[in-house]
Symmetry: C2
Subunit: 185 residues, 2 copies
DNA sequence: GTCTATACAGTGATAGAC
DNA sequence: GTCTATCACTGTATAGAC
């Protein structure tokens, strides 16, 4: 079981690079260094089970490293939101790395993993909104600002990859960060 | 030649739904109602040429309906920016429709169509920045605001599809619209 | 558990009848 | 120009030797 988990990061990178439809089993074998037999031994459900394992892994990482710190934000302390921007900037490598949930959302893969993808973004928004409320924003304002900020991160990834310019990612993130740290109206 | 162009919108819709790697020639035949022979007669280069034709078609549409109106914005007239938001909201069907250039940017297709994708977003940003300058923004401020706004549109598409909620698209767009129409600091 | 061998459906693409 | 038939190949998935 822990053997299986050890190969999940390599699968994640392969899916990020090639997409779900574009990643063949041969690709995934090369990425993990395993033969087809071994891969199917760990993931009898094939590609779909591999992608599900990857999404679960990403979910766990974001929950521990992004969502829970946001939830833990104490009243009047705005540092948690800034820490989130630092974490996603590092994680997405300034836009060089793709958000798999976001990429899947744009394609047919969305139907396969609808609940997982929906839950990921919903919890991201909800935890960010909680941190914003702790920082003094009202209920509805916090939710809307959180939606906008998560969209900004996703858009920053798309745009910086399209222009092949990590600087664009940083620009968008910094604007979003400044906006959420700005004094309340 | 006009025969060929007539089938491009159907190909566009197929690529939007299935992605580039996910759209098989059989899929594209079904979408256009043509046999393989006919498709290859129009597009000897296969899928790649079909996608290139689709991107060129989208490029022409955006140039005529979005980029040029932005360029035509006269000094002191902020209506052009608002018209852009209306146009993209209609075009992307409140996030139900995907931006093909954005979706391609996230995957390996980016390498195949790098110049086209880069040019599309670069001209979107540049024309929006021109309209913002016409509305009174400074050079650098206009560029940064344009980058942020285009990213917001892309992020809105990703997020609204992920949550299967067109309302999210509208929320993000309205925030972006309000921000760009706000009085200058 | 790991690999090799294999099954067989589906792929992109071409040739040729009409 | 359009289709059908067919090509060689790659796809996912399984079976079985080790």
């Amino acid at each position: 079981m822990t053997q299986r988990a050890a190969h999940v990061p390599a699968l994640a990178e392969a899916f990020r690079e090639h997409g779900f439809a574009g990643a063949s089993v041969a690709t995934l074998c090369a990425a993990t260094g395993l033969g087809k037999g071994s891969l199917y031994n760990f993931f009898p459900g094939g590609k779909e089970e591999m992608a599900a394992a990857v999404l679960a892994d990403l979910d766990a990482w974001f929950t521990a490293c992004v969502f829970e710190p946001l939830r833990a934000a104490r009243a009047g302390d705005p540092a948690a939101v800034g820490a989130m921007f630092d974490a996603v900037t590092a994680y997405f490598r300034s836009g060089r790395r793709v958000c798999l949930q976001g990429a899947f959302a744009l394609g047919r893969e969305r139907d396969l993993f609808a609940a997982t993808i929906d839950g990921y973004f919903e919890r991201w928004i909800a935890s960010l909104a909680a941190a914003l409320r702790a920082a003094g924003h009202g209920e509805q304002a916090a939710r809307l600002a959180a939606v906008e900020a998560v969209a900004a991160v996703q858009g920053a990834i798309v745009l910086s990859r399209a222009l092949a310019d990590p600087e664009v990612f940083l620009q968008v993130i910094e604007r979003s960060r400044a906006r959420l740290s700005a004094p309340l109206a």
